[in-house]
Symmetry: D2
Subunit: 124 residues, 4 copies
């Protein structure tokens, strides 16, 4: 997934504001669902939540850059998964994150739906 860096993404340091890389990773996760027309949850009170993040900021992007978010499932369990997401500016790796996602319904972890499981297995 390609993401353009706009003014809103940058800060007074002239580069992308650090937490935005984490937002881009969420955009990429959501886009996986949206582009297939699959709802990211089966009800208003269910969905994937971010439980843990381990992130490294390696280099920076600037206004007008077109960066790319790449992803790979590291582990797929009953109600959770670990995802590796990396952001590149051409060949240069800017950002790397391991994120633990849990599928919850009414606040409790529940089994990941078959259509979501398939998506994770196929896409990454």
């Amino acid at each position: 997934m390609k993401i353009r860096i706009y003014y809103e993404d940058t800060d007074a340091g002239g580069i992308v504001y650090h937490t935005n890389y984490i937002k881009y990773c969420e955009r990429a996760r959501s886009e996986t669902f949206f582009e297939k027309g699959i709802k990211p949850s089966h009800s208003d009170t269910s969905g994937f939540i971010v439980k843990d993040i381990k992130a490294s900021f390696l280099a920076t992007a600037k206004l007008g850059d077109l960066v790319e978010v790449k992803g790979k499932v590291l582990k797929l369990k009953n109600s959770s998964l670990i995802l590796l997401q990396e952001i590149y500016n051409n060949e240069v790796k800017l950002f790397s994150m391991e994120v633990v996602l849990v599928y919850v319904s009414e606040g409790k972890p529940v089994r990941i739906l078959p259509q979501h499981r398939e998506l994770f297995e196929g896409y990454f």
Copy 2:
């Protein structure tokens, strides 16, 4: 209401990203409710929505500045109001906006609640 300018508020131009002034005005409107402990709506499907905005960007703030949002009701009608909101950096006016707010319930304009009406009359 005082608002500090953080990195997240600035852009690569070194100053506050323009739409953020409009966000600060919304913060100030919400804070009026929150600080009095008054809910900004009487149900999940009701609330004030922004219908029209007329805004002028006069000067800019930068990282670390402490700006102030001031407000004044220009017109208070049955189900809507016009608010003048201005943002200052000390004596310097940075931003001025007239905003038309409508109180809606399930998508339709309804009469503004007495407690909200009182707030608008008293506060501004």
Copy 3:
């Protein structure tokens, strides 16, 4: 220009946070430059600034929607222009804005560059 609505774009009302429509318009303006490989300014201290906005919020978008920003130059002067920008969700107009942009250098209005002028004349 198509823009997908992600979680970051929505608020607790379940719809797009109002100022984000104004951000999308800025994205569309910047994209016009970036996709042609034209720099939006001729130096670090020059660029287009937003001077005035007149906006109407007509309908709302929600998570997963793919909205489109359309634009049209209403007036092109020596150092400024008036742009009409509208956002659609399929056939439904969500947002309409007239924005006055001024090209400034070191804080003063200056003549719009030929390559920018050409872009505005051709694109819209």
Copy 4:
């Protein structure tokens, strides 16, 4: 440092958008400098950058909540430090993060300034 949750902070899930907790931590770090009137860097090309983050999302805040960011220096080295930052909603811990900050000048790690070192030693 107290932070109010506004509409802009929430998402369609009705709660605070996850990356915003990381933004609040940055606000708290910056505020430490601003409230003492100390510049967060000694030149335009220097400053603290976020190198690594390890974060856990434990509970959620919602519109109108007033959360608090607390901080503690875990390790203070020549040109970097490890900070523990936690966000509470009254007694409930919402978020916990270990962040590695590096002081850089023109892209290279340099010795943390005495006034910054003092701030970190005193404040936390």
